[in-house]
């Protein structure tokens, strides 16, 4: 879930500086042909935001605040960050406060996406905390005129050799922490960790289970009014007429807003706004244009659209001889983020400035988009992240923020709360893109893969804001801002080609990314981006090849994998599952296995699963799953387990049930009836997650790690149970039944 990271603070500071750099650099190179090595940068997000007090501040009374530019979206990293800071600062966990994503208070860390928060922000906080601790020790040493080595820290204080305690609050003075981070920090020895590595209970859960104000939906500002938008019935629909006079007279209605194709109602109370929205919706007449593709024909449509093609892997070894070749096509439909809470935002306009409370994953990029939409300088727009319902990528959050801002501009001084309706979230959110993969591979005489061809067709996987054109409100207003041209996300992270390059060693390999600019359906980032479908495809096809080779699925993977950490998670998952070579599942059940290293550079995850298939109905059920994960140094093991458990269940739901539906004009999956997801009757008996901790190794993140392996593991288990290979997602009851009967 990546996109353009907009470092606008730096841009503002740079001003004319960029000009100097562009002239001075070639001059230096002309004088000295050996270019000087670039100065080493501090790790994680410290590289872009190097001042220590951007991350950690200590008050005179000893109160410590940690700042992160990432947004807590239910992953629990706020707790993990607090653990990291407590550990490296040597202070009690409970004495810290963590402030997240706020354009006036925190670093610009771009989007909270790509399982990058621990790597970017966690690493920055860890190093900043370690360096702050060093500075505090140095200050104590200076005051007592003793060598720094003779001091230690404990419980928020520096302890002198004679036992004298110098509290952090007493030591910190003036701009002491306003210094740039050093490239290297003296981090603690992981063997001595007291807080990191512990399953510390999450700081946000008590409020969430007692009715505290835990979400943006729960915010109530003085004088706040409630708004609802009336969206067009379909993409591109034009408002032809709308008599709003009757609606303006409805009880509680404060204002009816029409700005081109953007319409909204504002009322004193929330249900008044909903009633007015319904009336306005009835009054509005639209001209619609049928522009959607045929849903049944998506794979042909996608592979037929113009594409920008890039060969992203080319490996050749003529000595590897093909004996047997197979090929297969895998497809994925458009899928919905499916947040349980529809998107919500609050905005307040005052004196040519706008404040927006939002559950966006990127306060800085969103600020830029909203500023552009309102023709305000970015500095006059203040975005504050407040947690919302889980988003799993780019859902309606950013659009709701823009909606609130556009409405609030019409009501100066008044805080305006907008929440989307269920059908708006389902109908208008940007979906996870449909994808097609075509695979072809050969086995040599030893049953090893001698050649591998992989082609993937996909739209972009990020249309996140930055520019206003990504936001519905800006697209719909009278002076619309056009949708920006889609761009592929570059490798090594990749978008449609995320995880398209196999991690296995194949002597001949050819991988092509067909990037499709045209987007007939609104799409953007959804948890794991292209990795979900690419890993589903690769790991399904690995099983198809293993079967032809007559080799056990786990053994076949190990045979093609050198990476020792990858091998370790495969072996761990297999062992804990009780995977046996030559095993046979109980009647009507199947075993499946899959593995991936997310983005080929982040966490490793292997998942073994057991699926039951009802042969009469075709209905599949995941009975149990066992996962092994290596996410580097573990900060909160229970948080990591929670993420992987969730990934398995959510990915299983995508894989078995989910597809956005549409006719030639409108999206038709607009609620939980028309877009069914996992319910309790299909929840497994058991999920076990085993962590392979790597003390002292970099944080690798975990949020998106499980999506691909879970999908393929379930698909492989279905194939094992039925003897039939299904390649078109979702693997529905009906498709399984038809395959059994075929």
């Amino acid at each position: 879930m990546n996109g353009p990271v907009v470092i606008d603070r730096r841009r503002m500071l740079a001003g004319g500086g960029a000009l100097i750099v562009s002239f001075s650099l070639p001059a230096v190179l002309a004088q000295d042909q050996t270019a000087p090595a670039p100065a080493p940068k501090p790790p994680g997000s410290l590289a872009n935001t190097p001042f220590l007090d951007s991350w950690i501040r200590i008050d005179a009374d000893g109160g410590i605040t940690v700042f992160s530019g990432k947004a807590e979206i239910g992953q629990g990293f706020k707790t993990a960050f607090q653990q990291i800071a407590a550990e490296e600062l040597d202070v009690p966990f409970a004495s810290l406060k963590v402030v997240t994503a706020d354009t006036r208070r925190t670093a610009n860390e771009g989007y909270t996406s790509g399982s990058n928060s621990m790597k970017d922000s966690g690493t920055a906080i860890q190093n900043a905390a370690a360096q702050v601790r060093e500075l505090l020790i140095a200050e104590a040493a200076r005051r007592l005129n003793l060598p720094a080595e003779s001091f230690r820290t404990e419980n928020g204080a520096v302890i002198a050799p004679d036992g004298q305690r110098l509290g952090y609050g007493d030591l910190v003075a003036g701009d002491m922490l306003h210094v740039q981070a050093q490239p290297k920090s003296r981090l603690k020895d992981p063997a001595t960790y007291k807080v990191m590595g512990q399953p510390v209970p999450r700081v946000d859960i008590p409020a969430k289970v007692t009715g505290g104000a835990a979400y943006i939906q729960d915010m109530r500002l003085p004088g706040m009014v409630h708004a609802r938008v009336v969206r067009p019935p379909s993409y591109g629909a034009q408002l032809t007429e709308c008599d709003t006079s009757a609606i303006e007279r409805l009880p509680g209605v404060v204002k009816v807003i029409r700005n081109g194709n953007f319409m909204a109602v504002v009322a004193q109370k929330e249900f008044q706004a909903i009633k007015a929205m319904r009336a306005l919706s009835m009054a509005a007449k639209w001209r619609e244009t049928p522009g959607l593709p045929k849903q049944d024909d998506l794979p042909r449509l996608l592979t037929g659209l113009p594409s920008q093609d890039a060969i992203i892997l080319e490996r050749s070894d003529p000595s590897a001889i093909a004996q047997k070749t197979i090929e297969a096509t895998y497809t994925r439909p458009y899928q919905s983020h499916g947040s349980i809470g529809p998107s919500c935002a609050i905005a307040q306009s005052a004196n040519d400035a706008m404040t927006v409370w939002t559950h966006t994953q990127g306060v800085y990029p969103d600020r830029q988009g909203i500023a552009e939409m309102l023709h305000l300088p970015p500095a006059s727009v203040h975005l504050i992240h407040v947690e919302g319902s889980g988003c799993y990528g780019h859902n309606g959050a950013d659009d709701a923020a823009a909606d609130a801002a556009l409405i609030a501009r019409e009501l100066p001084g008044v805080p305006v709360r907008v929440q989307w309706m269920r059908e708006q979230e389902h109908g208008w959110e940007p979906f996870g893109p449909a994808m097609v993969t075509k695979l072809k591979a050969s086995l040599d005489s030893n049953g090893a893969i001698s050649s591998w061809n992989f082609e993937v067709w996909s739209n972009t996987h990020s249309m996140r804001p930055g520019g206003a054109g990504s936001m519905l409100a800006a697209q719909h207003m009278a002076q619309p801002i056009p949708l920006p041209a889609p761009k592929p996300i570059p490798l090594p992270e990749g978008g449609g080609d995320r995880n398209a390059i196999p991690i296995y060693k194949f002597p001949n390999a050819h991988v092509v990314h067909h990037f499709i600019p045209a987007m007939p359906v609104r799409v953007s980032a959804m948890r794991a981006l292209g990795a979900y479908h690419n890993v589903f495809s690769i790991e399904s096809f690995m099983d198809e090849l293993a079967e032809i080779a007559g080799t056990d699925a786990v053994e076949f993977r190990l045979k093609h994998l050198d990476d020792p950490r990858g091998r370790a998670v495969i072996e761990k998952a297999a062992q804990e599952f009780g995977w046996q070579k030559g095993q046979k599942a109980p009647p009507d059940r199947g075993f499946g296995f899959a593995f991936a290293r997310y983005k080929n550079l982040a966490a490793y995850c292997a998942i073994a699963s057991e699926v039951e298939v009802n042969r009469e109905t075709g209905r599949p059920r995941l009975v149990r799953a066992v996962a092994a994960v290596d996410s580097g140094q573990v900060v909160n093991p229970d948080g990591l387990i929670n993420q992987i458990e969730g990934a398995i269940l959510q990915s299983m739901s995508w894989t078995l049930y989910e597809a956005v539906t549409f006719d030639d004009t409108r999206i038709t999956s607009i609620d939980w009836q028309t877009y069914p997801i996992l319910r309790f009757n299909a929840v497994p008996q058991k999920i076990d997650v085993h962590i392979i901790n790597r003390p002292g190794q970099p944080f690798l993140g975990s949020g998106e790690t499980g999506q691909g392996p879970a999908a393929a593991s379930v698909a492989n288990a279905i194939a094992n149970a039925t003897g039939k290979r299904l390649r078109d997602l979702p693997l529905t009851r009906k498709k399984i039944k038809d395959a059994i009967d075929a």
């Binding site: 979206i73 999450r202 008590p206 007692t210 929330e270 349980i340 809470g341 889980g390």
Partner: protein
């Protein structure tokens, strides 16, 4: 104007009779726990207890509630003095984003009030109307079992205290 009894207190409510209970709770009484999820009774995020039964507050109009007892998650316990079901969800860390959790807890609470020792199958069947998108289901199930255990311990220990007196 009508009287609505919520969490043991009478409230005078001035809202049209077709107003769904959800908006009365959130907008008139400033309660947070019941959440808007779908407005259609499809997801369970808005669930509260009315006279001992779990109901979708998003599709229950105010006019049906005269003389009835409404209980929300706020009525069970507080952050400092959590009810057994709240303690159980904390102890099992049974939330990711947590948006669905308050509704889940209310239906589980209603189940435990009438069936203190439900089987795993009974809990699953009872929670069928509820959606969780983060995939926290395994923890939710464990938390309901734990709540059943905690309630049992609480009632037996209070009996012990009572008999010791």
């Amino acid at each position: 104007m009508m009287t609505l009894k919520v969490n043991g207190h009478d409230h005078q409510i001035d809202a049209p009779p077709d107003t769904p209970l959800l908006y009365v709770l959130r907008d008139e009484l400033n309660l947070n726990a019941a959440k808007y999820g779908c407005g259609l009774g499809q997801c369970g995020a808005c669930t509260v207890i009315v006279d001992g039964k779990a109901v979708f507050s998003c599709v229950t109009p105010l006019l049906l509630l005269e003389g009835k007892q409404v209980t929300t998650l706020e009525g069970l316990g507080t952050i400092d003095a959590p009810a057994p079901i709240q303690r159980a969800f904390m102890e099992e860390q049974a939330a990711q984003c947590g948006y669905c959790i308050a509704g889940m807890m209310m239906r589980a609470q209603a189940l435990l009030q009438k069936n203190p020792k439900p089987t795993d199958e009974q809990i699953r069947a009872e929670l069928e109307p509820h959606l969780c998108r983060c995939g926290t289901h395994m923890r939710i199930l464990r938390a309901v079992h734990r709540a059943s255990h905690l309630m049992d311990t609480a009632s037996s220990s209070s009996t012990t205290i009572g008999s010791a007196r």
